[in-house]
């Protein structure tokens, strides 16, 4: 293999699994170390740079970082990253005066954003400090989009959402609530310099089976949650069936319990391995005694005397292959499950009846607009998409990342530059060595198991729809959990010229991830290591030829716990622990290119 190019930011970025897993590339190890130091406001602001809504995301993020976390490969449970994020938001001081200033001198550019959801708000957050004038059109009377209408307040309290939206709107955004955009053509006619469409995927999927329209007790999930959020609905029958097992279904079943339902069943067509809901959301629902019923395929609604009394299901059986894929299915019978209400939570569709089809914007077969995956520009120049409106339903953190990228494009578009010619990621490495065998991070491995988040008791939580169920970590629990972090951004950096091939690093490595051996191709090397490197998703770090024997030093990045012992036992400092800082460019960096070393210094831990 060729020596690994560690000057390419992508290499060490990939080692920080959580940061790579996060669509917005949040510096997870960086901010959780700040939390451990009690620097909650700094941790909050470091978060906010990338994900804009730390308080919201600390509660309801889909947390792609956690399944990616290296700790999860070592003792099964990843670091509770999402819950730590919330600690920063809960315990911080007022940070209003530390938000980016909005210049008095305006750029003279006017930008319209359609929908006041997370994607549009992220765009506004990035563009206001550049002096652009931002107008947001929102059909509802409150901003927040799906964050407000679709996430029940027992998971995301209103005041948290209000505060983080206000941080953006108060920069001077012209927020026009209750103003639905009926025609893109008309909006284009208003002379905006750019338009961003972040109107979400606001249409819940329907289930067209017999009896669907014979009762008013059959609801579409996201519309039903919206009605609860706006207090149009405040009760539900005793027996409720939820159709579907995505995260929306979990919100629907738990909301039902709070509206008075006594017996809630979530009906799934397939076995558990095929569920779309995140594992923790399933767990939270099951803790509240929601029954999840598998292998039931909806057949018809049972209506007696004009009243919904139950639902008929076909009982399914599946044959799986070795990979767990369904190869055959058959119906083994039928059953009727009695109920008073049915909530359909089987997915969402995008809906763009207000976009004329002659503006140059192409739509694919699912009626989703065709958008450039890098610039987020549509076929109509100056019209950008982001969030669920761009690529179909995803989640908040993806929408925020779309917002950042679209903001860069919009700013470049406004300046008459090529939107595809974008700044690349930068990086900075600085040694973590503080003295003999002392490092600037806590390098000792903590054997503690994942810290549990305290919950409101089962008796208390149903008393009010707004009672937040998760209580969050206190500072003490947070510190304990931070110690579980492996500090994957503290990179093991090797200088081949200095190595005397004494084997000290190899002998001391607790997970045996280092090897000195003859070079070979990757497949061959992976098998010849001290412990064979069979996780192909993780890279090998290969050195240049070593001075004395021309062998190479190979490190399997997979399970390194970043304890720094290789560097401590190295007599010549050929191994060093170095803090890696990724500099992700934002719209504001287009004016002054970012200096990675300044970012490292500002957010150093």
């Amino acid at each position: 293999m060729q020596p690994t190019d560690i000057t390419n930011p992508d290499y060490f970025h990939k080692v920080v699994d959580c940061q790579t897993g996060c669509p917005a590339h949040t510096d997870v190890p960086g901010y959780i170390r700040l939390i451990a130091q009690g620097r909650f406001s700094d941790a909050y602001l470091l978060n906010r740079r990338t994900n804009v809504f730390p308080g919201v995301l600390g509660r309801v993020c889909d947390r792609p970082c956690e399944p990616a976390c290296r700790r999860g490969r070592i003792d099964e449970e990843p670091v509770a990253i999402c819950r730590l994020k919330r600690v920063a938001a809960d315990l911080r001081d007022n940070i209003r005066d530390r938000l980016p200033p909005v210049p008095a001198q305006k750029s003279g550019k006017r930008i319209a954003l359609v929908g006041a959801g997370c994607a549009s708000l992220a765009v506004a957050n990035d563009l206001m400090p550049l002096g652009h004038e931002i107008v947001i059109y929102e059909a509802q009377d409150t901003p927040g989009g799906l964050m407000r209408t679709n996430i029940p307040s027992f998971r995301l309290p209103e005041d948290v959402l209000d505060e983080e939206i206000a941080q953006i709107v108060d920069m001077g955004v012209d927020l026009r609530l209750g103003t639905k955009v009926e025609s893109l053509k008309a909006l284009l006619g208003e002379g905006y310099d750019a338009i961003f469409i972040g109107s979400g995927a606001p249409k819940g999927k329907n289930l067209e089976i017999p009896g669907r329209y014979e009762s008013d007790r059959i609801h579409i999930g996201i519309e039903w949650l919206e009605s609860i959020a706006f207090e149009h609905i405040d009760s539900v029958g005793q027996n409720v069936l939820i159709i579907g097992v995505g995260n929306t279904a979990m919100d629907c079943c738990r909301s039902s319990l709070r509206l008075g339902a006594k017996n809630v069943k979530v009906m799934a067509r397939k076995p558990r391995a095929f569920f779309k809901a995140s594992e923790w959301e399933l767990k939270d629902a099951e803790e509240e005694n929601v029954e999840i019923v598998v292998n039931h395929s909806p057949k018809e609604f049972v209506i007696e005397a004009g009243k919904l009394v139950g639902m008929k299901f076909e009982l399914m059986e599946y044959d799986l292959d070795e990979q767990g894929k369904i190869v055959a299915q058959r119906i083994t019978g039928e059953t009727v499950v009695p109920c008073d209400d049915v909530v359909l939570a089987i997915g969402q569709d995008n809906a763009f009846p207000w976009i004329e089809r002659d503006l140059g914007i192409d739509f694919d077969k699912w009626d989703v607009p065709v958008v450039d995956p890098v610039t987020y520009e549509s076929g109509c120049r100056g019209v950008f998409f982001g969030g669920d409106a761009a690529f179909g339903p995803k989640n908040i953190i993806w929408a925020v990342e779309h917002g950042h990228q679209a903001a860069i494009s919009i700013h470049k578009h406004c300046r008459g530059e090529d939107v595809a010619d974008r700044l690349k990621d930068g990086m900075h490495l600085s040694s973590a060595k503080m003295g003999i065998h002392e490092w600037s991070y806590s390098n000792s491995y903590d054997v503690a198991e994942r810290t549990l988040v305290p919950h409101l008791s089962l008796l208390e939580r149903f008393k009010n729809l707004d009672f937040e169920v998760e209580l969050g970590f206190d500072a003490e629990r947070a510190v304990r959990e931070v110690e579980r972090c492996l500090n994957c951004d503290q990179q093991t950096v090797f200088t081949a010229d200095l190595c005397i091939e004494c084997d000290a690093c190899i002998d001391v490595c607790p997970v045996k991830c280092l090897t000195m051996t003859q070079n070979g191709d990757e497949a061959d090397l992976r098998e010849r290591l001290t412990t064979p490197a069979r996780n192909l998703e993780q890279d090998l770090y290969v050195s240049a030829a070593l001075p004395q024997t021309s062998r190479v030093m190979v490190k399997d990045e997979d399970l390194c716990v970043h304890c720094g012992l290789c560097a401590e036992r190295c007599p010549t400092a050929a191994w060093d622990m170095q803090k890696f800082t990724l500099a992700v460019p934002y719209a504001i960096d287009e004016n002054v290119p970012p200096k990675p070393e300044l970012i490292a210094r500002k957010w150093g831990t």
């Binding site: 390098n443 491995y445 004494c502 084997d503 002998d507 997970v511 012992l565 036992r569 007599p571």
Partner: protein, 351 residues
């Protein structure tokens, strides 16, 4: 030394031996030797060898004297028996322990100071008694613990850190052991685990005294230009004469060797050592020719390595003394010490 303990995590795919243990189960405390010390690498090889031989940790005794090398038993197989003796006296304690309990695996770790200066006599007599043990000399040519004076194994002309040349002739533990009648004499290098590991396994399995002289550079006082025991010098002057492969009893020998090219030796426990000639005419059973071969090549500054001499026909200490097979520690006290009446009967035999 490091301030943190070695993390208690293991690679989920870590191999397990016949006892279900991982290599981590054979480690000891965190080393307090200098970072980069050759001795730590020897420790690493011992850990790996004992793991691969599936030796139950509590069936092993590790002994040492004084010196950097003699600290190392603290760093491997923490659940075994151990004895850190007076300077140079480890062979006596090892002999005594072995006499009392022949059923343990004995491993002694010593250095060039402990074995070739203060303990030279002890070392020689342990060889003559043919104590059943593996005796490792971690040889770095200097007294590291007292800041780097030349030791008795320093080569003529080798330079100290400040430039002084060694004027006294070196003691070669291998040639000495061969002349004393040791049955298993090997030399290796801490920086070459591929060679060292099978030697340690073979040495532990050999019945009788097995000595391995391991060139183990002192990274602090003897790893500079002009030293003949540095990492770089050893790598440049390293000449394997015989390659020894260890084959455990349960494994078949798969590689076919041409006649005269390799010599398989079966050990008492059914395992085998395959001795493969690397250097032309070298014969690891011919004492006289080995002697001149080593003499000649060492004059040229070469470090001849491998299993230099092997003779499995020698009787070990218990056989020489006609001691019962059962370890004395398990023999009933009344049999072991039958009392005054029995003593009188015995003495009457000589009257």
């Amino acid at each position: 030394m490091s301030f943190i303990a070695k993390p208690k995590v293991i690679h989920p795919q870590s191999p397990r031996n016949e006892l279900g243990l991982t290599v981590r189960d054979y480690e000891g405390g965190m080393s307090t030797l200098c970072a980069g010390c050759g001795h730590d690498s020897v420790t690493g090889a011992i850990v790996q060898a004992v793991f691969e031989l599936s030796i139950p940790p509590h069936r092993m005794a590790k002994l040492s004297g004084i010196g950097c090398s003699s600290k190392t038993p603290a760093y491997f197989v923490k659940e075994s028996h151990g004895f850190n003796t007076v300077h140079g006296r480890m062979p006596s304690v090892a002999s005594g322990a072995n006499a009392a309990n022949s059923d343990l695996w004995y491993i002694g770790v010593s250095g060039d100071g402990d074995s070739l200066s203060i303990g030279l006599g002890q070392f020689c007599h342990a060889i003559r008694r043919n104590v059943n043990m593996l005796y490792i000399i971690e040889n770095n040519g200097v007294y590291g613990l007292t800041k780097g004076q030349f030791s008795a194994s320093a080569d003529l002309g080798s330079k100290a850190k400040k430039g002084a040349e060694n004027q006294q002739p070196p003691i070669d533990p291998c040639r000495m052991a061969i002349s004393m009648g040791a049955g298993f004499v090997a030399r290796s290098f801490s920086g070459d685990k591929e060679q060292l590991l099978p030697l340690i396994k073979a040495g532990l399995s050999h019945k009788g005294f097995a000595v391995i002289d391991v060139i183990s550079p002192c990274v602090t006082f003897n790893d500079h230009e002009g030293s003949t025991k540095s990492y770089e010098y050893t790598r440049q002057h390293f000449h394997p004469a015989i390659q020894a492969n260890y084959v455990p009893p349960s494994e078949e020998i798969k590689v076919q060797y041409k006649a005269g090219e390799a010599m398989p030796v079966t050990l008492h426990d059914g395992s085998q050592i395959i001795l493969r000639k690397v250097a032309g005419k070298y014969d690891p059973t011919d004492r006289a020719s080995i002697y001149s071969y080593l003499e000649q090549h060492q004059q040229a500054g070469e470090v001849i390595t491998g299993l230099l001499y092997y003779d499995d026909s020698l009787k070990e200490m218990h056989d020489l003394s006609n001691i019962v097979d059962e370890p004395l520690s398990t023999v009933d006290h009344s049999d072991l010490c039958p009392g005054n009446d029995a003593l009188q009967v015995l003495q009457n035999v000589w009257r």
